[in-house]
């Protein structure tokens, strides 16, 4: 982290990647750490691949090339595999293991791979891999929609970013609508604890 830090967040349209990255950005702003990110806006329809590149510190390019990401956060497991080549060999990966099955698979035009052996293999490829039952945790917090914030808590818990837990929480308070704050704070905490207990 001497020079800079790159986080790649991936998932599926509708999972809340924008809010996820927004909170990291606000947390960095609170900590006075330079931050830039590149968001994907575009098609209104749901269900496409979505990614955000977030760079902290001295890095200026708001985009991450192959072999550059220090942390990969995936809200969907197949998307983690798709993005793996963007990681450094020493990267940390944090992922929710619950599949979001693409329409083409439902229509019988493609197959969704069998996950358990792939996730096992992933553990041997990167030095630190955190696998979360993201949906269970989000539902436990109060809504499956809080999956993005569960992963945010997990990222904070992993200690891979030079940002204090309190900065994440304060950023969350600023970004989330007050009516959903408690739910999101619970989701954050469940993700945070899940990673701590896995360490």
């Amino acid at each position: 982290m001497a020079q800079g830090f790159r986080v790649l967040a991936v998932g599926v349209g509708g999972q809340g990647i924008l809010l996820f990255s927004r909170v990291i950005g606000e947390a960095a702003l609170l900590e006075g750490l330079p931050v830039a990110m590149s968001e994907v806006h575009g098609m209104a329809q749901r269900g496409g691949v979505v990614e955000t590149s977030i760079v902290l510190g001295e890095v200026k390019s708001p985009y991450i090339s192959p072999g550059e990401a220090d942390v990969l956060v995936a809200l969907e497991p197949v998307e983690a595999l798709r993005a793996l080549s963007r990681c450094r060999r020493e990267a940390t990966a944090i992922l929710s293991i619950d599949p979001v099955v693409p329409q083409v698979v439902k229509d019988g035009l493609a197959t969704y791979p069998e996950l358990p052996p792939l996730l096992e293999k992933l553990r041997t490829v990167l030095p630190r891999v955190y696998l979360l039952s993201g949906e269970d945790l989000a539902r436990k917090a109060g809504s499956a929609k809080a999956l993005n914030v569960v992963l945010l808590g997990a990222l904070a818990g992993s200690g891979t970013l030079p940002l204090a837990k309190e900065a994440f929480l304060e950023a969350l308070r600023r970004v989330v609508k007050p009516a959903y704050l408690d739910l999101n704070l619970r989701a954050f905490d469940l993700g945070y604890q899940a990673v701590l207990s896995a360490q």
Partner: protein, 561 residues
């Protein structure tokens, strides 16, 4: 209060490039905005639309297309009010006609034209490089690299425009418009006054009949000379001399260059020419830069705009500096760049060893299922396609039919199992190309167009079809909104936000009936009735319009909130 208004002077905010442009325009006191949406420019219009409800001194409209938006903004600036229009790159093709002559007649108050280009076609049908529009028209151009520059340059663009009495082109790309980073806000203009402008008549200036146009062209060329001098001295054009290897860059590439120089450990060995004010090209500055380096790598996405300008300067000055760019194979002329690509090019230019970072083993990953964008569950477009398909199948015409299509969510009718999209060029081309297919083939023709696209560019070709006697069915997918770009209003809209309730509802069916074209309106969810209603039109094959009316499900959900 809108978040772009609540930020105080000096406050640091995390803003999207497009939001930063809006903030800059508010600091400049923009009074009139007009735009047609298009990714990656859309957030600019969306914010100005919302802000115009809060600020008595700000008018904004979603115009029917970019040409009209350009004309609205031009007239406002001629009448002394600062104005802004924004569009995606291809939008400037539509607005090019007024834009090129606007450069002759010029403006009184500042006018900024934002063009948001889309290298890699993230959400576009081509990746044209609109920097050539600056060259073609003669107007000054600024290219921000970051959201902070986007804010500050927008503010400056208004001043520059007023000083030169020319519109200014602010050119972004997807990775600038949709980058988010820290912006230090400036002071907002006073929006609680709303006095009108006043147009001073001056036919010798504002009416470019040939005699006036010839004179104004010379005025434009003089202004360009003045602008070039400003570009030579502009703080947006920075030169750092540190060694015999030079790099020239503009726009988002500046970031990639700065990272590459630092990460390759070349900080004290390479000279940099980082350009933000790129038209007119700052030739004197470039000559000074080139005379201090042996070779110069040019880092710019898409066309060799800077590269060729630098080569001209080198030739004019008799310099032997080698310019290394696209022609020399250092960087590609297509798609957006990424940091790794720039690092590799720089290493090659600086003649140092470089191997790209090692990536994790991915050989064990099986083929992964793709996630192409698809129509949402319950989308009315799907239902319309199904009814039309069913009736054509009944008629035995499904395979014999050509389906010209248009741009919007419904372009996805291209995918199986629908496969009802065969030909597309640009907005409005469904109806225009249907005219051509109708004379060139004996095939049946059923064309599809969205409501927003119909108003934007579908009406002239429909009138052409009627007048020329072309034969096709035009299906208008009236989903109550411009869905693709984030649900902006359309004139036929029925579910309307409060401030638009006063405006008339313009019915597409009534419009077509008024022209005397056989027209039916259907509800695509009522399959049986809809099939009955459209059968006569589809079986005749003559010119006819089917208006399929049902709101976009996402828009309806958002509207009902």
């Amino acid at each position: 209060m809108h978040p772009l208004l609540s930020a105080k002077e000096g406050e640091r905010r995390l803003l999207l490039g497009n939001e930063a442009i809006v903030r800059g325009a508010l600091e400049a006191g923009v009074r009139v905005g007009a735009a047609y949406p298009g990714t990656p420019s859309s957030e600019i219009g969306n914010h100005l639309f919302t802000l115009s409800r809060e600020l008595p001194g700000l008018y904004f409209e979603f115009s029917i297309n970019e040409k009209v938006a350009m004309e609205v903004a031009a007239a406002a600036a001629a009448a002394g009010l600062r104005s802004l229009t924004c569009m995606k790159h291809v939008g400037l093709n539509v607005a090019a006609d007024p834009f090129l002559t606007l450069a002759y007649v010029g403006v009184k108050a500042g006018m900024v034209v934002v063009t948001a280009d889309d290298p890699s076609c993230h959400s576009s049908q081509n990746e044209q490089d609109n920097r050539y529009y600056a060259r073609l028209s003669g107007v000054p151009m600024l290219e921000p690299a970051t959201p902070e520059e986007a804010r500050a340059m927008t503010l400056y663009a208004f001043e520059l425009s007023e000083r030169l009495e020319l519109p200014v082109l602010l050119r972004t790309t997807t990775r600038v418009s949709h980058a988010r980073s820290v912006v230090t806000c400036g002071k907002l203009a006073d929006y609680f006054r709303s006095e009108k402008g006043r147009f001073e008549k001056d036919p010798g200036r504002w009416i470019p009949v040939p005699a006036v146009a010839r004179k104004r062209h010379r005025v434009l060329l003089e202004r360009m000379r003045e602008a070039e001098e400003l570009a030579n001295r502009s703080p947006w054009n920075r030169m750092e001399k540190r060694g015999p290897v030079g790099i020239a860059a503009s726009g988002v590439s500046v970031n990639y260059v700065l990272d590459a120089v630092r990460e390759l450990g070349l900080s004290d060995r390479v000279s940099l020419l980082l350009l933000g004010f790129t038209h007119p090209f700052p030739r004197r500055l470039a000559a000074e830069f080139l005379s201090g380096v042996e070779r110069c790598l040019v880092v710019e996405e898409l066309e060799p705009y800077l590269e060729e300008a630098l080569k001209v300067v080198a030739a004019e000055e008799g310099l032997s500096t080698r310019i290394l760019g696209k022609a020399e194979g250092y960087l590609p002329r297509y798609h957006e760049f990424h940091p790794g690509l720039v690092k590799e090019a720089l290493a090659r230019a600086a003649e140092i060893e470089y191997s790209p970072p090692e990536t994790p083993d991915t050989s064990w990953i099986p083929e992964l299922p793709p996630r192409p964008p698809t129509l949402c569950p319950g989308c009315p477009h799907r239902e319309t396609y199904r009814v039309v398909k069913e009736v054509l199948r009944e008629l035995g015409e499904e395979e014999n039919t050509v389906y010209p299509t248009d741009i919007g969510c419904y372009t996805l009718g291209l995918l199986p199992p629908l496969k009802m999209a065969d030909y597309l060029l640009c907005m409005g081309s469904s109806a225009g190309s249907a005219c051509g297919f109708s004379v060139a083939t004996d095939q049946r023709i059923v064309a599809f167009i969205g409501d927003s696209t119909f108003f934007h560019a579908g009406i002239p070709p429909l009138i052409n079809a009627l007048y020329q006697g072309h034969r096709f069915t035009l299906v208008v997918l009236d989903n109550d909104t411009t869905a693709m770009t984030g649900h902006q209003p359309v004139p036929s809209q029925e579910l309307r936000p409060e401030p638009l309730k006063e405006k008339p509802v313009i019915s597409i069916a009534k419009f077509c009936e008024g022209l005397g074209i056989p027209t039916v309106e259907i509800n695509p969810y009522k399959k049986k009735e809809a099939a009955e209603a459209i059968r006569p039109l589809l079986s005749s094959g003559k010119l006819g319009v089917i208006v399929s009316k049902a709101p976009c499900v996402l828009y309806r959900a958002k509207f009902k909130g």
